[in-house]
Symmetry: C2
Subunit: 384 residues, 2 copies
């Protein structure tokens, strides 16, 4: 090679152009980029808020879906009671952004995390899930040490086979301990079943939601008999909220994906009550057209994920996604004339929004095909 590199150090920022700037037209945005269609997003937020209010149920959207404070602030401005997070460091990012009512929908174990949680509880109204007596005792001790208080939701397993206590007896025992121990306060139950959110049939989701609510109601009644009042019964996700709100069991729903509608949720059968529009897209560029029907796009496993299905090409009904490698997305057109051209730009709907957001530092927010804002995905990477 004859290239003679210039001498001396050079900073990446001097070499690098940001992928998008406020005011850019869509055509100016570099790829891959994560796009939010603001009109559709706002419509989705309003739809869910209206549903919750119609049934007198609190909406506490899950921030694990996006990790972006600007999203959460808009949900709260429309009436959401607060947010859910799954991790303590993640919650800290949202507290910093001015959100002070957070349910950590997960079990928190280990001294470093408990200390972080206790410190956070001095700055926000927090609730957290518990499914084990030792974990509850450790939590209580950490909170006492930091002179803080936290609400306890006993997590019950309503069929997901993940976390959560198995029996009513065990749940009541934990609830009583939460009532008794210092630094913690018994607040209610978390009853979430992730698996049933993704059943394709509307009727199957209804039946599964009803069965879950029935099982939850038995726990609530047992707590009641034991003198433990469940101020909060939280659960439900994007796939079942329309049934959960009507169950009379949940005081609060915690959907997240509804704001974006990923490819996985898009494949479900939806009823008349509630529909959401795809508002989240990956923008890519066709970087290779090696055969008449194949196009290769510069989106890969570094900008989206495949565990809930491949991305879905938007606005290209005769083009199918056939593979997703580290930095390549393979498209196959049914006919040669339908193959996107070299250099053309393609939008795809991510298969699963939660881990896709977690791959990006910035959400490119569009209104009328123009970049209206760049929202930092502040809690990206905050999983401890």
């Amino acid at each position: 090679m004859t290239v003679s590199p210039a001498a001396g150090p050079v900073s990446a920022s001097a070499l690098m152009t940001p992928a998008a700037r406020v005011g850019d037209s869509l055509a100016q945005v570099d790829t891959p980029s994560l796009l939010l269609d603001l009109d559709r997003f706002e419509e989705n937020l309003r739809g869910m808020q209206v549903l919750a209010e119609r049934h007198g149920v609190a909406l506490r959207p899950h921030a694990k879906a996006h990790r972006c404070p600007e999203v959460a602030l808009r949900q709260i401005a429309l009436g959401a009671a607060g947010i859910c997070c799954q991790k303590v460091s993640e919650a800290a990012c949202f507290v910093e952004a001015g959100i002070h009512d957070i349910h950590i929908s997960n079990e928190i174990v280990g001294p470093a995390k408990l200390a972080m949680l206790a410190r956070l509880a001095r700055h926000a109204r927090l609730t957290v899930c518990v499914d084990h007596m030792t974990a509850l005792q450790d939590l209580s001790q950490a909170l006492v040490e930091y002179d803080a208080t936290i609400g306890i939701l006993v997590e019950i397993d309503i069929g997901q086979k993940r976390c959560g206590v198995q029996s009513i007896q065990e749940a009541v025992k934990l609830g009583k301990a939460a009532q008794r121990l210092p630094g913690v306060r018994f607040t209610g139950i978390q009853a979430y079943h992730g698996g049933i959110q993704h059943k394709a049939s509307h009727d199957q989701r209804r039946q599964a939601s009803e069965a879950a609510a029935k099982r939850t109601a038995r726990f609530v009644a047992a707590f009641d008999r034991a003198g433990l009042q469940c101020d909060v019964v939280t659960g439900g996700g994007t796939g079942t909220v329309m049934f959960d709100v009507a169950s009379g069991v949940y005081t609060e729903i915690q959907p997240g994906s509804y704001a974006f509608m990923d490819g996985d949720y898009g494949r479900l059968q939806w009823g008349d009550v509630l529909t959401f529009a795809h508002s989240l897209f990956l923008l890519g560029t066709v970087m290779s057209t090696p055969t008449p029907k194949r196009a290769v796009v510069d989106i890969g496993l570094k900008s989206t994920t495949a565990e809930s299905g491949l991305p879905v090409p938007a606005g290209l009904p005769s083009v199918q996604c056939t593979g997703l490698h580290d930095e390549h997305l393979l498209l196959l057109a049914q006919e040669e004339s339908q193959r996107p051209a070299l250099g053309s730009r393609v939008r795809v709907i991510p298969g699963h929004c939660d881990p896709t957001f977690n791959l990006h530092d910035t959400l490119v927010v569009l209104r009328n095909e123009q970049v209206e804002a760049l929202w930092p995905i502040t809690a990206r990477g905050y999983s401890w």
Copy 2:
């Protein structure tokens, strides 16, 4: 709830403890964290370097596997000729870190990217793949504009069915144009087949590598007849390098995963010539033990990926990983006595190292179970 949040703004950094600090014992590292066993890693690096030198082939390890300049600098210190990157912004991070010989093993299309690439070429010896005449012409024009030069590797499709020209005639045409156009210089061929890297049987990989080398050799001969000398014939990955180096066709190999050995490569059948040790782990904490045989660990799709198989528990032969959710890893023990206890720490081998690295900002580098260094994964998120 009775919690009274403290008034006033609060910064996340004030609330948050970093997951690891230099000098920490392994027991002090918070979870989930991405760990590198430095002894095994260094042994892997030496093994591959020795193999390449024994066969007189250049080693140009792929940095897409890790996106971490500290890794690349160690490979170069041992004798690697430079590195491969897949994206321009990714390469810029490595140039900033002082690495000045980079092959971009991918097609680069679009004005913003070409301008970025041309600017980068003023600071580093670059080569890049091309598989289309228009793309080559656009590249040449951008380089002339920035008064820079770049080496061209014509990418040929040797069976992967991704990018790359299909016919010898088309390849030679591109090579001749690269020889003729300003700002670019014909340098050789990229012949990479990702799919065959992962065939489980050693013999099947040998046969596939031999077939790929044979096809590549036909292109090299045609270039030669056309007066185009291939200074570089680059290809090969962790699964086939032992055959690629002996083929007499490749001047350069570009493996990446060998330094870490993920779960996917770990499942392959390996011969006597070359073996690599698992050096990369995710550290997790058991946060729930809801049933006698089930343990739930705080690792999820936000800290590793599932598209190449679930993570593999390390040092727990009777424990199987049965699921990976956004922030939950499900473990199932064969016997109750083998289930990890609540609060205990678990190491798992990630299924696929490349996208796993891309989820972390920091690599926690261990020697003798102590944190010797924290290596920034500088190019994490740089995919444009």
